[in-house]
Amino acid sequence: MTPGRHTEGPTNETIFLIDDDLSVREGLAALIESINLPVRSFGSAADFLTTQPVEAGGCIVLDVNMPGMNGLDLQREMNAAGIPLPVIFLTGHGDIPMTVQALKAGAAHFLTKPVRVDELLTAIRQALEMDRKARSERAEMRKLRERLDSLAPRERQVMHLVTSGRLNKQIAHELGISERTVKLYRGQVMRKMGSDSLADLVQQAQKLGPLY
């Protein structure tokens, strides 16, 4: 097996190529490399899992039919392990149940071999875009949660009630504190959460959803 052509791009994105067939693996790796995308290739699903790619950005190009752990098994494994990379499936003879199963489990694309080059490259670009968006969302989420975690318990309560649409007076009554103290807490929340308006704070609360 040729070691993956690993070109660390500025975006820190890698295309992980997993196929047991040497011709396919080397061909696709060359193709991806030739459009200046970093690619790492693996001969089996197990090999790929040893690289612990949880934090990586990019996407996976995955052969469905492989000895040992096949593509669908790997997808299940990745979902369980919380690996968020979008998966482009390649199949020799893709039957409908298999396709449905893969798409239900979150496959980005399902391509049939022999793969049309432009189709594959488009799929890769879309998957990368998807991944970028997902990553920035995840980053924002992480930031929000960090801010949320920095709130004191009283501030959390105040934020919850404010974003639920309660007036300062109602909050003061509910918590048994003065309206002035509510205003003080509210100012703290806005500052810690980095919100410049009530609308902004409400949006943040929606994003955090049931987490808080």
Partner: protein, 493 residues
């Protein structure tokens, strides 16, 4: 010593006889006697035989000489040279008044010896018995005649005995007939041969035996000819049947090969698709690298090299399929079984991966090649491998396909295919190789039957060697192809 040449008797009815002929005639008149003896002696004298005529009353030597002289040219000369003697019976046969047959026998012997010693062809005599005193000497004379009859057979001697018919009793005639080989008698003015019953019987018996033998020879010959013909026909028929069988087998093998190819279609497509994917990807990569400024020639070259490699891979698969599907008459070539195993596994690969079949190969290094039809042998391997995969389809445990090649003895090569399926129901074990026997819902039941036929035709044997709950093992053995030591073919896998 007996001359093989026949002697002329001069008597038309008798014709030619061999030496050792002893015959007689009954005469009624003196004319009869002379009439028979003149040609008899003329023939003897003309063929250089020593002759003697023993006469009896009423014939006199004078009369006899007169008759002979007038009938036989140069008789006097013969007589002067003693080519012919004329003696009187009473003097020749008797000493004094008594019959002296010992003297007579000696006389015949002396004359025979004289004939041979003096350059004659043999000795011819004619003797009349009219002088005989029948009442006194008849019995002794008959004994003597019988002895002559028995002993003359081996001598260069002809003897004509003449008896006067008038006054001969029936019993006497019978005695005479018994002691001679045959008789001649006057009939319608000519002489006629009268065979004795014994001779007649003997001749008839010989004739019968001859006819019988001839008939049997003819019968037997025609039987043999017919049998031969039948055998030839059967052989030709058998040859035709054998040829037809071979053709039918090849035909059937081809049909099952094509059927197997049909079952393998998805796998085959996969096996061609894989290198095609590689080719098209490398091609595009190559174009991208060439479009770079400056072009990345090194990378482009790598891509082209992979294109060539993948193209060869696809071609090989297509070539194998084509030979398996193409109808070609069986032909012999050296076949490397390890190589054939690899190629066959390539074709079946697409059947194994989706079924999660693990493959384990244990192929002997330096395996000698075998002589045979590559396509047919690949068909056998493919069939055994496909059966093994099929056998593991329903099990939930580990699916392990093991293929081994080995040299168990210096003269043969063994290939075994083992699966980890449920094994073969012992009830079915005896019928595995029967035509049209199948346990599959969609099987024709010809696979193993044809495999065994193919292996047998290659001088080998295919069998189901082990059959356990851990799976079945099929194994075939083929004679190793012996290559001369200066031309060793090393197996290249």
């Amino acid at each position: 010593m007996k001359d093989e040449q026949l002697r002329q008797t001069g008597i038309g009815a008798v014709g030619d006889v061999p030496w050792g002929t002893h015959f007689f005639l009954f005469h009624e008149t003196m004319e009869d006697l002379i009439d028979a003896n003149i040609p008899y002696f003329q023939a003897g004298l003309e063929t250089q035989e020593l002759c003697m005529w023993v006469i009896a009353d009423p014939l006199t030597e004078e009369e006899v000489r007169y008759s002979l002289k007038h009938s036989i040219p140069g008789f006097e000369d013969h007589f002067e040279r003693r080519n012919i003697d004329i003696v009187r019976g009473r003097e020749w046969y008797m000493t004094g008044d008594d019959l002296d047959l010992e003297k007579v026998t000696r006389g015949w012997k002396q004359n025979t010896d004289r004939a041979l010693n003096s350059g004659y062809a043999g000795f011819r005599l004619s003797a009349d018995t009219a002088w005989l005193d029948k009442r006194r000497d008849w019995k002794a004379f008959c004994e003597y005649e019988k002895e002559v009859n028995d002993s003359i057979v081996d001598a260069p001697m002809l003897a004509l005995c003449t008896y006067p018919l008038p006054g001969s009793a029936a019993a006497e005639i019978l005695d005479v007939a018994r002691t001679h080989q045959f008789a001649i008698a006057r009939r319608n003015k000519g002489w006629e041969v009268v065979e004795t019953s014994q001779l007649k019987q003997a001749k008839a018996e010989i004739l019968r035996l001859n006819n019988n033998l001839e008939r049997r020879v003819i019968e037997r010959t025609s039987q043999l000819t017919a049998a031969n013909e039948e055998l030839r026909r059967q052989m030709a028929e058998r040859r035709r049947a054998e040829e037809a069988l071979l053709t039918a087998q090849a035909e059937l093998a081809h049909v099952t090969r094509v059927t197997a190819m049909g079952e393998l279609a998805a796998s085959i497509v996969h096996e061609v698709t894989q290198p095609l994917t590689g080719i098209v990807s490398n091609g595009n990569a190559c174009l991208h690298w060439l479009a770079n400024v400056p072009p990345n020639v090194e990378k482009a070259r790598g891509a082209v090299e992979r294109i060539i490699r993948d193209t060869n891979r696809a071609s090989e698969v297509i070539h194998d399929i084509r030979t398996l599907v193409k109808k070609t008459p069986p032909h012999q070539e050296e076949v490397d079984l390890n190589d054939l195993i690899y190629r066959t596994l390539t074709l079946a690969n697409g059947e194994m991966t989706p079924e999660q079949v693990e493959l384990q190969t244990d192929l002997a290094a330096d395996l000698p090649s075998v002589l045979g039809d590559r396509v047919q042998l690949q068909q056998v391997l493919l069939n055994l491998i496909m059966n093994a995969i099929e056998a593991m389809r329903t099990i939930s445990g580990r699916r392990l396909l093991t293929i081994q090649s080995a040299m168990r003895d210096p003269k043969s090569v063994t290939v075994s295919v083992h699966d980890s399926g449920e094994g073969i129901d012992p009830q079915n074990a005896d019928h595995l190789f029967d035509a049209f026997f199948t346990t599959k819902s969609q099987g024709m039941g010809m696979g193993l039957s044809i495999c065994r036929t193919i292996i047998s035709a290659h001088g080998g044997h295919l069998s189901n060697v082990a059959n356990a709950s851990t799976g079945a093992t099929f194994e075939f053995t083929l004679p190793a192809h012996v290559v001369k030591s200066d031309n060793v073919d090393i197996a290249t896998a």
